[in-house]
Symmetry: C2
Subunit: 216 residues, 2 copies
């Protein structure tokens, strides 16, 4: 039996979902809310539900913020975003807030039950248009990735780059790599020329922008 709470400000949608879901013998809608705050205060309820259907636009706290708070306090609850919004911005924020799925309200409502069941089986239902936005986001960030080879950095220069990224001074990196400070500097300046930058900070920026060297 899957226990469900609904947070949805439109009474029609709210009661529609409640009715639809209760038709399934494996699902029980415990309570439906028109805003997030009342749900957040029901501690004993939150300890006994499995899935929350969450709208984004709500009076008071929005569904993304609510998702964030609930997931932090009750990591076992799965939250399925159910909304009309398909802006990349909202989608990403919802996912970062910890949403388990993101379904558009214009989807086939009869599929909602199978989507909820799929959540309990370890899946994350995502409407195709939402998924497209996600993929585009992931592909975009990967578009103009560069590598040290693209700039024809030499072995030694690459070592130096890593030292810079780790915040060392000329002297320190020279010690680590067994060379004179002046040599370390020579290499760095060559790297600057090759990358077209003029300082460590610009260098760092370029490294981050282009994903040169995988930091962390």
């Amino acid at each position: 039996m899957i226990h469900i709470a609904i947070v949805e400000d439109s009474i029609d949608a709210r009661e529609g979902f409640r009715y639809l879901l209760n038709l399934d013998p494996d699902i029980k809608v415990i309570q439906a809310f028109e805003s997030a705050e009342p749900l957040l205060m029901q501690e004993e309820l939150l300890n006994n539900i499995d899935v929350i259907l969450m709208d984004i636009e709500l009076p008071g706290m929005d569904g993304i913020e609510a998702t964030h708070r609930i997931r932090r306090a009750y990591p076992d609850i799965d939250i399925l975003i159910l909304t009309i919004f398909e802006e990349q911005d909202k989608i990403l924020r919802a996912i970062h807030a910890g949403a388990t799925g993101y379904v558009l309200k214009n989807s086939d409502p009869t599929e909602l039950v199978s989507q909820i069941k799929s959540i309990r089986e370890g899946g994350s239902p995502i409407s195709p248009h939402v998924a497209r936005k996600l993929l585009e986001q992931m592909q975009k960030s990967n578009d103009q990735q560069r590598t040290p080879e693209d700039y024809q950095l030499t072995k030694r220069e690459i070592e130096i780059c890593i030292e810079i990224i780790n915040g060392y001074t000329y002297r320190e990196m020279a010690e680590h790599l067994n060379m004179a400070g002046s040599t370390a500097k020579r290499h760095i300046l060559n790297v600057y020329k090759k990358l077209g930058v003029n300082s460590k900070v610009e260098f760092m920026k370029k490294v981050v922008d282009e994903g040169l060297f995988h930091i962390h």
Copy 2:
């Protein structure tokens, strides 16, 4: 009419998909291949198909590499990965290679037609288990994000931080913000104390690591 090519090494699966898809009046399977290389050489074919169903494990070039090459040369072709693999690694590589969708072979085969049609309508069908892996990936990297507020940076200090990130010197940022260079410095050093760093480079590293300030 949606024109389709299939790349799938198992003859049973290949002919099964071909049969299944040809049942739909809006879909026509132009050709089915058992490996990627023959498809890549059919230039005139590639100029006339809309969607490719692509397996990952193939004799010779794998489906991910094939996806990469096709997408680079024919960006208008949508590629739907259709595979048994649900490892995060393969999923991510396929997406970075430019896949438009990623469906598991154990999905309901009768849904394949609607998934292909959803692609042509700008969607990206993704099996729920695959989507879960994607969301987990996106959420993981977002775990220990910090904000300027977490370090109680003041308005002025935040302005200074942005100047640093943009690579300006004390003097330059002082001009931009209408203050003396010494004041700019004063602020920076305060920021360093609050963040626990000792130089611009360490500052940059922290900003990158913790996602303080959204660069770009």
